[in-house]
């Protein structure tokens, strides 16, 4: 129900009928850190990116004047298909244009969002035509550039300069292709509404009695109005029992949740009923800007009740009033602020080499290396995750480990360096991981059992050493496994300890095993992890996904895995009051 953090049990019931009488008042596990932040009004992740464009040294395609350039922005799908996002205006007679039109795109951390920019010289005869109506095949193509959105956002200046090149499918002569076609400069700015949170304290006076033997039990629901007039709830308050002059706990709204400060909001006051059929006491329609004014002048606004008189709908003005006792705006640092401010994600990988994977030389093995080059499940999981995370790791050197195998000359090892070195564990880029993985398959014999404890402890050691050195890094460990973990309690102990460090753990289950037990490790699915000593994980740092579940579906494994990472990162940074260096 939006990002309102003043729920209690009644408030939970408020929208969804009856909650358990004494249920946990928060939707997920009540993490210590999460609660600490909620009390300070921190919300989830909202990132609208505004793209703006400039170019230098464009080709001059006009005879008597300079080119009249326009940029067309596309997103590239997984299948390589392009879909148009928008167009800039046409800048007349300029080879170094700065376009005014901005384009908004929602940033998704968990996806590689490939953008394609094509620059056209618009023919003079079309200068009075709306850019949306222009037929691109009738304009002269000046060049194109491609990048991933995640190449721009981690940069401190959020600027990326791209060489304009000739389109590969263009029929123009090959000699033209390598001419210098100028450069396109792309600037990505996170919209301020993504960062701005409003804190409001609301109260009502003179509410009507709705219960037979007691006063009303009021709560508020705040909804935003869509263009079609539909109301979408974004926030609710707690229920205050037996009260006609309720003053609710502060509520927190991200401005982007509601659209803008001027977007209309419906604020409905209900009387809570256990059966879920809550009585409407009264409502008002106000924007955040209106509510700010109410707070400034210290006056209340009368609620109304929609009534029907014959065939007419009328609003009955009530004596009840809504007051805004507090209205403050604050700007939070976002995930992108941290990235631009020098924080990095450091990626680590651990691969399961236990015997249950099957003989790597046989095609039915999960470790089988297909001569045709088709990646196996382990390789695919690595490629998909690293493809996203590599943009956020400046040196692209990744610690890579294996577990559950016996090196040629030794006992079973539950955390060995994938590259075969006894001194260092890092490899260079995706290629480095792939080469280390294939060579490890030649140099170890698969064994068992499946123990996660040692690799988690090693990853935690990396994270704690970074903290000790004053590093502004957040670590991500990917564990790929085919089996259920044998050392469940030791794994829980290691995870509970690691929950206090800048570390998240992604677990991908490959093959046909029953991974029910693995879901225990992911606090999304149940209780918080508890160690053998009674210590409980202070935050959820594990994401588990079985590879087969989402292979054919809409959401890729990577998206399912990485979706929670930004909020885990923010929870850690904000709770420790780490500020980005902006």
């Amino acid at each position: 129900m939006g990002n309102c953090f003043s729920n209690d049990t009644g408030g939970m019931s408020a929208v969804g009928g009856t909650a358990g009488a004494h249920g946990n008042p928060y939707d997920g596990p009540n993490d210590a850190v999460d609660l600490f932040l909620r009390n300070r009004g921190y919300n989830g992740l909202f990132s609208q990116i505004e793209l703006s464009f400039a170019a230098i040294d464009l080709l001059d395609r006009d005879v008597l004047s300079k080119s009249d350039p326009m940029v067309v922005i596309y997103t590239k799908g997984r299948d390589g298909g392009l879909s148009e996002l928008g167009r800039t205006e046409v800048v007349l007679n300029s080879l170094n244009p700065k376009w005014i039109t901005k384009h908004n795109i929602t940033y998704h951390f968990e996806v590689v969002q490939t953008l394609v920019f094509r620059v056209y010289d618009v023919d003079t005869q079309f200068h009075n035509v709306d850019v949306k109506m222009l037929r691109l095949e009738e304009q002269q193509f000046l060049g194109e550039a491609t990048c991933a959105l995640s190449q721009i956002v981690p940069k401190s200046d959020r600027l990326l300069t791209l060489d304009l090149v000739y389109r590969e499918d263009s029929e123009s002569s090959r000699s033209n292709r390598h001419r210098d076609r100028g450069k396109l400069i792309v600037h990505a700015e996170e919209s301020v509404s993504s960062k701005t949170t409003v804190e409001m304290s609301l109260r009502c006076s003179d509410l009507e009695y709705k219960d037979l033997f007691s006063k009303s039990d009021p709560f508020l629901i705040i909804s935003k109005l869509t263009e079609s007039g539909t109301a979408i709830p974004v926030c609710k308050t707690e229920v205050i029992k037996n009260e006609l002059k309720p003053a609710w706990k502060p509520i927190y709204l991200n401005i982007q949740q509601v659209g803008s400060k001027d977007s209309p909001l419906i604020m409905e006051c209900f009387n809570f009923n256990n059966n879920g059929k809550h009585d409407l006491i009264g409502k008002i329609q106000k924007s955040l800007a209106d509510l700010e004014k109410l707070h400034a002048i210290g006056q209340g606004e009368n609620l109304f009740l929609p009534t029907t008189v014959g065939h007419d709908y009328q609003n009955k003005i009530l004596k009840s009033q809504l007051f805004v006792d507090k209205f403050t705006e604050s700007v939070q640092h976002t995930f992108l602020d941290y990235l631009a401010g020098g924080c990095e994600l450091n990626f680590m990988v651990a691969v399961d080499f236990t015997a249950s994977n099957g003989n790597p030389r046989l095609p039915d093995s999960l470790h089988y290396i297909d001569p045709s080059g088709r990646p196996n499940a382990y390789q695919k999981a690595i490629i998909d995750v690293v493809e996203v995370l590599q943009f956020y790791d400046s040196d692209k050197r990744f610690p890579a480990w294996g577990f559950g195998a016996r090196p040629i000359d030794g006992p079973v090892n539950h955390c060995f360096n994938l590259n075969g070195s006894s001194h260092y564990c890092e490899v260079e880029g995706i290629q480095g991981i792939m080469m280390a993985y294939t060579s490890a398959l030649q140099n170890v014999s698969l064994a068992g059992p499946t123990l996660f404890g040692p690799v988690i402890t090693n990853a935690a050691l990396n994270a704690s050493q970074s903290v000790a050195n004053g590093g502004r890094k957040y670590f991500v460990l990917l564990i790929i496994t085919d089996g259920v973990v044998t050392d469940l309690q030791e794994t829980k102990d290691a995870l509970v300890k690691a929950s206090d460090l800048p570390l998240s753990i992604l677990i991908v289950g490959v093959g046909g095993a029953d991974f029910k037990e693995m879901e225990i490790l992911d606090a999304d699915k149940g209780e918080r992890l508890e160690s053998s000593t009674g210590r409980v994980a202070s935050r959820d740092i594990v994401q588990f996904v079985p590879f087969r579940d989402v292979q054919s579906g809409e959401i890729s494994v990577v998206q399912a895995l990485l979706a929670e990472l930004p909020s885990q990162f923010l929870t850690y940074m904000r709770s420790r009051d780490v500020k980005p260096i902006l």
Binding site: D8, A32, G534, V536, R576
Partner: protein
């Protein structure tokens, strides 16, 4: 003179799912933090409205003796029959001292509460930060060793130099 204790800043954040006689408590929960082998303790205010999910967000400052191995957090509830203990949690000092993280690191820790019969009874959420004394480069051997740093060969240079940690002139650096 060697320091005999360390100063801890303990923020008692909240607790979850507190019960008395198998029923969720309605109000008036508070928490007490106590150092081992020491009469010293600190108590939060009562949360009069949080029910079974109280929130305190209250910082308590406590001196922890050097030899202490644990802290105890006790959550209690004021009822018409007097103050009753809901559950206690024993916090090993090793959970927030030692390892690679710096001494001033803010640890977020959660623990299972157990009642007098040893049954699970909710969770308490706290944060702990050790207040770091201002170390000078010319600090004496005794004050450094009392902080648990291994000492180097005292015959080398002037007095003992701690090994394995940088020697700072002035206050210790922040963790970020």
């Amino acid at each position: 003179m060697a320091a005999t204790s360390r100063t801890l800043e303990i923020t008692v954040i909240s607790a979850e799912n507190l019960q008395l006689d198998r029923k969720p408590i309605k109000k008036n929960a508070s928490a007490t933090v106590r150092a081992e082998n020491d009469g010293q303790f600190r108590t939060t205010d009562m949360d009069t409205e949080g029910g079974a999910y109280p929130k305190w967000n209250e910082k308590l400052v406590l001196d922890l003796p050097m030899q202490a191995r644990s802290l105890t957090v006790e959550v209690q509830c004021k009822t018409s029959y007097g103050v009753r203990t809901i559950g206690t949690a024993k916090i090993p000092v090793s959970d927030f001292v030692g390892g690679f993280v710096p001494e001033g690191y803010l640890h977020f820790l959660s623990y299972r509460l157990r009642n007098h019969r040893g049954e699970r009874n909710g969770i308490v959420n706290i944060s702990v930060r050790m207040k770091v004394p201002e170390l000078k480069a010319c600090a004496t051997t005794s004050s450094l060793s009392s902080m648990g740093f291994p000492m180097g060969d005292s015959s080398f240079g002037c007095g003992g130099v701690p090994t394995g940690i940088p020697v700072w002139c002035g206050p210790y650096p922040k963790s970020y």
